[in-house]
């Protein structure tokens, strides 16, 4: 008899992926005022995968819990997750400050223990800080196996087979629950949530807690010194004839 699967999906609120972020005046981060925020695309894929697993294994999956660590506005993101099919959610309200992956992992560990989760599906990285650390650190703190950059997930009883995207190919691994999975871009295609689903999600539970409730003190270990844009591409040169092109290339020692 296999035990019930309780899935935990951490989600992050980030600046919308389709927007081009602007650096703020003090060069310490990106401008966040008047910018559209949405769920991190990789987290979106993680939510979709959790819901898919639940649909495919209605008997085996007990619940899906979503958690977000961020400002109080991250409630919107959790509502979206609830609308997509997540059952319950928690917001760990840490205010406007950006939290480092280690602190996030420590908080997530507490949530995993509180919710007694045995499968954590999270995005491989957030598109704002690109750390790609949270899943791995959480696996380390919990002492669980991890399957990062998943492009296919198959659940069979207590065992999960994950196909990972690695350089130049795929790697298939199999592990027993509990397990950490981090999602890659090609795992699934998350649907944009519709209004009726969003309305229904308003009735689903969303609990707001402070990090102190988990006994974790947020301390910054890193200091951001400078944020700058990549150098702009310099303009090209037009040539009028083949000879000119050849001479230009020779000048650049490309021929």
């Amino acid at each position: 008899m296999s035990s019930k699967i309780r899935i935990l999906v951490p989600v992050k609120r980030v600046i919308d992926a389709a927007l081009k972020p602007r650096i703020n005046k003090t060069n310490t981060g990106v401008e966040s005022k008047g910018v559209k925020f949405s769920m991190n695309p990789f987290c979106d894929i993680a939510v979709e995968e959790a819901v898919k697993i639940k649909e495919a294994h209605k008997e085996a999956v007990e619940s899906i819990h979503a958690v977000s660590i961020g400002p109080s506005k991250a409630q919107d993101i959790l509502r979206t997750a609830l609308a997509k099919g997540v059952d319950t959610s928690t917001l760990v309200d840490v205010g406007e400050q950006e939290i480092e992956p280690l602190q996030v992992s420590k908080l997530l560990k507490k949530v995993v223990e509180q919710k007694d989760s045995n499968l954590v599906i999270l995005g491989k990285q957030a598109i704002d800080d690109d750390s790609n650390q949270t899943g791995q650190m959480l696996a380390g703190l919990l002492g669980w196996p991890q399957a990062t950059n998943a492009s296919k997930v198959v659940v069979e009883g207590d065992f999960v087979t994950v196909t990972r995207e690695v350089d130049g190919g795929a790697e298939t691994i199999r592990a027993k629950l509990p397990l950490i999975i981090t999602t890659d871009l090609r795992l699934n295609e998350p649907k944009f949530v519709t209004l009726p689903k969003m309305m229904k999600a308003k009735k689903k539970p969303l609990e707001i807690v402070k990090p102190d409730a988990y006994g974790v003190t947020i301390e910054e270990r890193l200091e951001i010194l400078k944020v700058e844009e990549p150098p702009a591409r310099s303009a090209g040169v037009k040539v009028s004839s083949v000879d000119e092109l050849v001479s230009k290339l020779q000048e650049l020692k490309a021929l």
């Binding site: 992926a17 389709a18 695309p41 990789f42 979106d44 598109i127 871009l185 295609e189 998350p190 649907k191 944009f192 519709t194 209004l195 009726p196 969003m198």
Partner: protein, 78 residues
């Protein structure tokens, strides 16, 4: 107003909020589209209009998925 039509309008308005560009512009466009078919009240023609509306809603959903997918692919995978 037919409740199905009202619901469709609400759903499309919700989707339109995420449409790239000016929200008022797309909202007016959507409104115009509904006004154009205001005389349709029942029967086969109404079904056809509702079907078209749902088609647009699905197209918008796909568009939003692709928009994010392409942005991430361009930034991380290309």
């Amino acid at each position: 107003m037919n409740p199905k039509v009202r619901q469709l309008y609400k759903d499309l308005l919700w989707l339109a909020k995420n449409y790239p560009g000016d929200y008022p512009k797309i909202r007016d466009k959507l409104h115009d589209g509904f006004i154009r078919n205001a005389r349709v009240s029942s029967g086969e023609e109404l079904e056809k209009c509702l079907e078209h509306g749902e088609f647009i809603a699905k197209e918008l959903q796909s568009l939003y998925f692709l928009r994010t997918y392409r942005a991430v692919k361009r930034n991380y995978y290309d």
